[in-house]
């Protein structure tokens, strides 16, 4: 027989189940994970789990950040609050000093204490260029452990919004282990015997699964009185949505974070459930934007962009392509979590809504006319317009949406054809600016609306645009506004004021056209575990295990689960 999913780490035996040598002893220990004590999840991992190193920020097994390693704070996207986690709290003690206090009695899973030195160590890892938070040190001056549980951060340029972001996205790592790694190893060590501080320990791994086992010595048990209801979490590696749905329906999966087309039908039938009982079923996770390439005519013309935006009937996309699984985006582009920041006045004045007639009249006013009678307008210079909207092949929902967009735009006189190159080719086009139109949803939910506008306006425009402003919009004033925003503390009146200005700029210039919200896809099978997050519940969290979302609610959702029987 074959050794099956016998561990991707045959060198050492971090746990008895992971390798063939460990098999015999494993039989004695456990043959299978008892169904009633195990939570089966899927939808996050798309390949064999390969790394348990949290530093690179990606590529880790599902739940690595959040279940095994933990951040200082959690962020609740529903309340928009940072909640102390490893930290007991933190505050700005001066214009550019921030003092962080850790909880008492934090321990690593190997029994070592988790203290201020570990936090300093984690922050200082950023001094290595390739560490994802190396940028921190362009505006942070110093991180100093003032006691076992306190750390003082001194900033050269306090960027409040970014700092908050760091606090909950960065996992604190053990100095006593990673301190021994070389700089190169920081990113390339697979860390096959991970020691974290979290609720779960590494248990076993296979080609098609990752298994976590409850950490019964978790600090939060005593500190916060929290206890995980399940002993094991088995995360099933995805191959396709079809398979996920099959597993879900057969009750082999409890939580699926896949986009499962048609799941609305199943929710209506009662076979699975979601956050909302009806449309849009899912919480919103990010806005999907239509990005016009503003280095090309006519997308460089704001009137044209406005007309284009109004020509698209997003409702049709929502109901047809998604069957109501998503909702239409607000013209500000901000996800509904930021509803409180919406400036509805600005939206009423400058925001766009679907209106093909208006789109046509804007075009006509700006000199776009159909001079050759082919049913499509030409530029004021008389150039033909023939735009390609690219969406990665295989992204079926977006492909369907792109078809609708192309159809609608064409109906308004703007010739657009949908094209579906390979995902890699779309990446290339997006980075190099070699496209007319594309759809992008990179800026997801975060602690601050700044993230979205940073994404939309990011400047300076460079040869390769990798993180934002793929449309290569150029406007200094707008960029200054965004930078101001990052330096403003949220909750302050300046913050909302600046935010309104940014929103206005966004709606008038339309560097990106927000269309709908991609959902925080999550569907539950309640046959084994109940009490899943639902609309209207007090303690409802984002029920998502995606990387970065565990500390944004995923963990709390798990904590709240109850066995069905």
């Amino acid at each position: 027989g074959c050794s099956g999913g016998g561990g991707s780490a045959p060198t050492a035996a971090p746990n008895p189940y992971a390798t063939a040598e460990g098999m015999e002893s494993a039989t004695e220990l456990i043959g299978e994970y008892p169904r009633e004590e195990t939570l089966f999840t899927s939808g996050t991992q798309w390949g064999p789990p390969a790394s348990w190193n949290p530093i690179p920020g990606a590529g880790g097994a599902t739940g690595l950040g959040g279940l095994l390693y933990e951040p200082l704070f959690q962020f609740d996207p529903i309340t928009l609050e940072l909640k102390p986690w490893l930290a007991e709290g933190g505050e700005w003690t001066g214009d550019d000093t921030y003092e962080l206090t850790l909880r008492e009695g934090l321990t690593w899973q190997d029994g070592e204490a988790l203290d201020a030195e570990d936090v300093v160590f984690t922050a200082e890892l950023g001094k290595v260029d390739a560490v994802p938070w190396s940028n921190l040190w362009t505006w942070l001056d110093k991180a100093e452990a003032t006691s076992d549980t306190t750390v003082e951060f001194t900033f050269s340029d306090p960027r409040f919004q970014e700092w908050d972001n760091w606090l909950y996205t960065t996992m604190i790592v053990p100095e006593h282990i990673m301190g021994e790694w070389s700089d190169d190893e920081l990113l390339s060590n697979p860390n096959e015997e991970p020691i974290g501080s979290g609720a779960f320990k590494f248990s076993a791994v296979g080609q098609d699964r990752m298994v976590w086992e409850r950490n019964d010595d978790w600090w939060a048990k005593s500190e916060l009185g929290l206890e995980m209801p399940m002993k094991y979490i088995v995360d099933v590696v995805n191959t396709s949505n079809e398979v996920a749905l099959g597993l879900m329906l057969s009750g082999s999966l409890d939580l699926s974070n896949n986009f499962l087309p048609g799941v609305n039908t199943l929710v209506d039938q009662g076979s699975v459930s979601t956050y909302y009982d009806g449309e849009p079923y899912m919480l919103a996770a990010a806005s999907a934007n239509l990005i016009p390439n503003q280095t090309r005519a006519p997308m460089d013309d704001v009137d044209f962009r406005q007309a284009l935006a109004r020509s698209i009937d997003v409702d049709k996309i929502v109901s047809n392509a998604y069957g109501g699984l998503v909702s239409k985006a607000h013209p500000s582009g901000l996800v509904p979590a930021f509803e409180q920041y919406y400036d509805e006045d600005v939206a009423a004045e400058h925001g766009f809504t679907f209106d093909a007639e208006e789109a046509k009249s804007i075009l006509a006013d700006a000199g776009y006319e159909d001079t050759d009678g082919d049913g499509f307008v030409e530029t004021p210079d008389g150039e033909k317009i023939d735009l390609k909207l690219i969406v990665p092949a295989g992204w079926t929902d977006w492909m369907e949406a792109a078809r609708v967009i192309a159809e609608d735009a064409s109906a308004a006189g703007i010739k657009v054809t949908a094209d579906f190159p390979d995902a890699g080719a779309v990446d290339d086009a997006r980075a190099t600016g070699d496209f007319d139109l594309l759809i992008n949803g990179n800026a997801g939910i975060s602690n601050t609306p700044w993230t979205y506008y940073n994404y939309a306006f990011y400047q300076p425009v460079q040869e390769q645009m990798l993180a934002g402003n793929f449309g290569r919009y150029e406007d200094e004033e707008a960029w200054e506004l965004v930078q101001d925003l990052s330096r403003t503390e949220s909750g302050t009146p300046e913050f909302s004021e600046t935010l309104s200005q940014v929103q206005e700029k966004f709606m008038t210039d339309l560097p990106a056209i927000p269309l709908w919200y991609n959902g925080a896809w999550a569907q539950y099978n309640e046959s084994q575990w109940t009490n899943w997050p639902k609309e209207g519940r007090e303690d409802a969290y984002f029920p998502v295990m995606w990387n970065g979302y565990v500390q944004m609610g995923g963990l709390n959702a798990l904590l709240a689960l109850e066995p069905a029987s």
Binding site: E242, G262, L266, N320, A321, G394, P421
Partner: protein, 310 residues
């Protein structure tokens, strides 16, 4: 690729000994009529042809009679087959029958083009290798082996991914480029046996060049064999294309039967009970390709009298 081989691999070998028959022992000319006579009396050929031509016809003239375009949101979503929508509708309310008919076209196109491309490459290489022999033969053999050894389907995926935008003809072209090796092998051995025939030498004594000899003397002798090869390639291309379409690398700007299956699966058709979306395209392919294969056996019987007597 995927399915070309299972049939054509052994199939090729199978036709080889017989092909020595048609080449060596054929008495054609007056027997063209005889061939036709047997072809028209061979139930396998007839059944195969009727099915394939039926689908072809549907694909060709079908669209003219349809109310909706394949991608139109034509009716209620997820409607089961009815008078209005004989194959029902998709999740989006698209007419599955309209898609099926449109898909038939691309499917035939892929079959014909893919088959033609690999036939042309395989035959050229086979002819040249078999006729020239020597070092050229060795080199071409090696090329054939390399293409054979490299997992063609994987390379196809890569190439398909490489193409920014994929069209049916492009897909066919690339499929063709990777499915010729067994054709080359078979044609080569046929050519080898023909090369030793005296009429080739006589043509050379008439001052005719290599190309002309291959074209006018060698190839025509293998027409029946080449035709059967083409039938196999035709079916193989369709299956390969369907596999590519299925894993999401189908044409991006057209409808095909494989793409229909892909979409049906992507949108969980079977789990949602939309069997009418998933069954017809696969069944269509199966029937077309199956009929081609059956027709091929029939043709084999027609061309090789030994089989005919069975």
């Amino acid at each position: 690729m995927t399915a070309t081989q299972p049939v054509s691999g052994p199939g090729t070998e199978a036709t080889e000994p017989g092909a020595a028959g048609p080449v060596a022992g054929r008495k054609p000319g007056g027997d063209a009529r005889e061939t036709l006579y047997f072809a028209l009396r061979n139930p396998k050929v007839i059944i195969g042809m009727v099915v394939v031509l039926g689908f072809l016809l549907l694909g060709l003239i079908g669209p003219a009679f349809l109310k909706y375009a394949p991608m139109d949101y034509a009716g209620p979503p997820m409607a089961p087959p009815s008078a209005d929508f004989p194959f029902g509708t998709t999740t989006f309310g698209q007419d599955v029958f309209a898609q099926f008919v449109a898909g038939l076209r691309s499917t035939f196109l892929v079959g014909v083009l893919g088959g033609a491309v690999s036939a042309v490459i395989g035959m050229t290489i086979g002819f040249v290798a078999g006729y020239r022999g020597g070092l050229i033969d060795e080199l071409l053999n090696m090329l054939t082996n390399v293409v054979l050894v490299i997992p063609g389907f994987v390379v196809l995926i890569i190439i398909n991914a490489y193409l920014g935008v994929r069209s049916v003809p492009m897909q066919a072209l690339y499929i063709g480029v990777f499915s010729w090796p067994w054709v080359a092998r078979a044609v080569r051995s046929q050519t080898l046996s023909l090369r030793s025939r005296d009429f080739i030498d006589l043509a050379r004594l008439s001052g005719v060049g290599v190309g002309t000899i291959l074209r006018r003397e060698v190839a025509p002798n293998m027409y029946s064999y080449l035709f059967m090869t083409f039938v196999l390639l035709f079916g193989g291309s369709i299956l390969t294309a369907a596999s590519l379409d299925f894993i999401g690398l189908g044409p991006t700007n057209a409808m095909s039967l494989g793409l229909m299956m892909n979409q049906a699966v992507q949108w969980s058709a079977l789990h949602l009970g939309l069997w009418w979306w998933f069954i017809p395209p696969g069944l269509g392919i199966t029937l077309i390709v199956g009929s081609l294969y059956i027709m091929n056996v029939g043709l084999d019987e027609v061309f090789n009298p030994k089989l005919r007597e069975m």
